[in-house]
């Protein structure tokens, strides 16, 4: 340790300051502004009107419900699928690296593009119907994305989201697995543990920090689900973020839109706190 490392406080602060100022200006300040916007009527007076209008809107409850249902369906599926992919990719068999890269490909795919990709499959003359027809199961196309049955759209969104965003969870888990596997896994093998036991007693407990990180990041993004719902449902299936968009761009009412964004933030904060509490990592357990 030279004197230089310890003595400097000014230099690190100077290096950090531009980034901190920027984040303050473009994250903290807008958040305060959102709070103010949501507490003002369009004429600028203080008012509970934006929240009242949001709550009275017939699309509010469906939007909230759809967002929560999507999260409840998507996240467990993603977790199971991502863990499977991560374990497959951690094998020492030939080709594991190739599969790891393939499973990571959806990282590059946007929500909007993923929605369009699955539209090509679920639309009336889409590939799902083409395949069903080729198998001789149907003669006429089945309509999956019907305006009368939003449940079909909801399931399509679940599939598109699981397809696209599992990669983020997987990559996070792979990073965590790389630290565990090896000695621990081999020790479990020496003592004759089967796969289920290895998962239950070795992988999952040690993977908790990574699981926590993956769950938090995925759920935060899931609260913002937007373009995939628009691409597959064309507005039939409201979610919180799409309502914020519609109120801003369609109804030209940034006040109600800000109220929606505050709901998203509040739910995000709640869930982050929940995960941090439920999956809290005791330092003595980790031994580091």
């Amino acid at each position: 340790m030279s004197r230089w490392w310890k003595a400097e406080i000014g230099l690190p602060l100077a290096l950090l300051m531009p980034a901190i100022l920027f984040l303050g200006l473009f994250i903290a300040l807008p958040s305060v502004q959102a709070l103010l916007l949501a507490a003002q009527a369009p004429d600028g007076s203080w008012s509970g009107e934006p929240f009242r209008r949001m709550l009275a809107d017939t699309r509010f409850m469906p939007a909230l419900r759809n967002t929560l249902v999507l999260i409840a369906l998507v996240i467990p599926l993603q977790l199971a699928l991502a863990l499977t992919m991560a374990l497959i990719a951690q094998s020492r068999r030939r080709g594991a690296g190739f599969f790891l890269y393939v499973y990571a490909i959806p990282l590059a795919i946007s929500e909007l593009a993923a929605g369009l990709v699955w539209l090509a499959i679920f639309t009336e003359r889409g590939y799902l119907n083409v395949v069903l027809r080729a198998l001789g199961l149907i003669q006429r196309p089945i309509i999956f994305l019907s305006y009368e049955h939003p449940i079909g759209i909801l399931l399509a969104v679940v599939i598109a989201e699981v397809w696209r965003a599992t990669a983020i969870v997987m990559v996070t888990l792979v990073a965590g697995l790389q630290m565990i596997l090896g000695e621990y896994w081999e020790a479990a093998e020496v003592f004759g543990a089967n796969l289920a036991q290895k998962l239950r007693y070795v992988v999952l407990p040690l993977l908790r920090p990574s699981l926590q990180a993956a769950l938090i990041i995925r759920t935060l993004f899931a609260f913002q689900t937007f373009a995939v719902v628009v691409a597959l449902g064309g507005g039939v299936l409201p979610v919180l973020a799409s309502e914020a968009y519609v109120w801003y761009a369609g109804a030209h009412n940034p006040h109600v839109a800000a109220a929606y964004s505050l709901i998203i933030l509040a739910l995000s904060a709640l869930v982050t706190g929940f995960y941090l509490y439920v999956l809290r990592v005791h330092p003595e357990e980790m031994g580091r």
């Binding site: 690190p12 994250i27 807008p30 959102a34 964004s261």
Partner: protein, 271 residues
């Protein structure tokens, strides 16, 4: 895997291939549509193999009103985002990696916390502000919000990139007569360059893919995703599929370039 019997191998390869198919098949299918004649979308039934290759659909998309301008805007926004977030993020990451100072953990926590803020809460009030100061509907407006979104990620990545370079190397350079600055420029920076480049390219992809803020903050100067999203309901199916493919292709190429760094990048961010 000592008891790697043939059965286990079979199961592993079968499962691995099935999951690869799950990831790749939809990409193949949209590629197939993008390079089929326009009317192929409506044909029933139709083949699953590329029997009638045609660039007609892609040509239609590229020549459609606004596509080229939106592509240019997307590239400009993504480049601005890349430059801004690296210029702001790399020094901060370096500070977190190399210095022990009071409040370091608080700064780190604060940066992690910013992830909790949804795009909606940034872009809606900023749209109002940007209209007032005349920045609305410009690539800069979108790039600033994208930078706010990408910056925490870039700070954490760069800090881990610099953390991986032993500080002894810089100290050795300084005992040999380098100033702290030249030690950094001649020793740490070259070693950090590949990691920084990978982080920048990933930032490019994040910005290229972002749609919510881009749609809120623009009206005429649309980025590509914002354009495709806003004309979605009025455009024919083949336009949407061509657009989907057009957006996916560059991002996938970038991912291919940085694949070696991918897991290091994300592993760090998630901790």
């Amino acid at each position: 895997m000592k008891r790697g019997s043939r059965m286990a191998d079979l199961l592993w390869y079968g499962g691995a291939a099935l999951l690869a198919l799950w990831v790749l098949a939809p990409i193949y299918l949209i590629g197939l549509l993008a390079f089929s004649p326009r009317m192929a979308v409506y044909r029933w039934p139709r083949p699953l193999l590329p029997l009638e290759f045609s660039v007609e659909t892609m040509q239609f998309f590229v020549n459609a009103t606004g596509t080229l301008a939106a592509t240019r805007n997307s590239v400009v926004v993504a480049l601005l985002t890349m430059i801004l977030s690296l210029a702001l993020g790399a020094p901060a990451g370096y500070a977190l990696a190399r210095f022990i100072f009071p409040g370091r953990e608080a700064v780190r926590m604060g940066i992690l916390m910013t992830r909790m803020f949804p795009m909606a809460i940034l872009s809606i009030p900023l749209a109002v502000t940007f209209i007032r100061i005349g920045l609305y509907d410009t690539p800069w407006a979108v790039a600033l919000v994208h930078t706010a979104m990408a910056l925490p990620f870039v700070i954490l990545i760069t800090s881990s990139v610099f953390m991986a370079i032993p500080r002894d190397l810089e100290e050795a350079a300084m005992t040999l007569g380098c100033s702290p600055l030249t030690a950094f420029l001649r020793v740490s920076l070259p070693l950090a360059l590949p990691g920084l480049a990978a982080a920048s390219l990933f930032t490019f992809v994040i910005s290229w893919n972002e749609v919510f803020a881009a749609t809120i903050l623009t009206l005429r100067q649309r980025t590509l995703p914002a354009l495709v999203l806003t004309v979605l309901n009025e455009s024919p199916l083949y336009f949407r599929f061509a657009g989907g493919f057009f957006m996916v292709a560059p991002a996938m190429i970038i991912l291919l370039i940085i694949r070696r760094y991918l897991f290091n990048l994300w592993g760090v961010v998630s901790r």
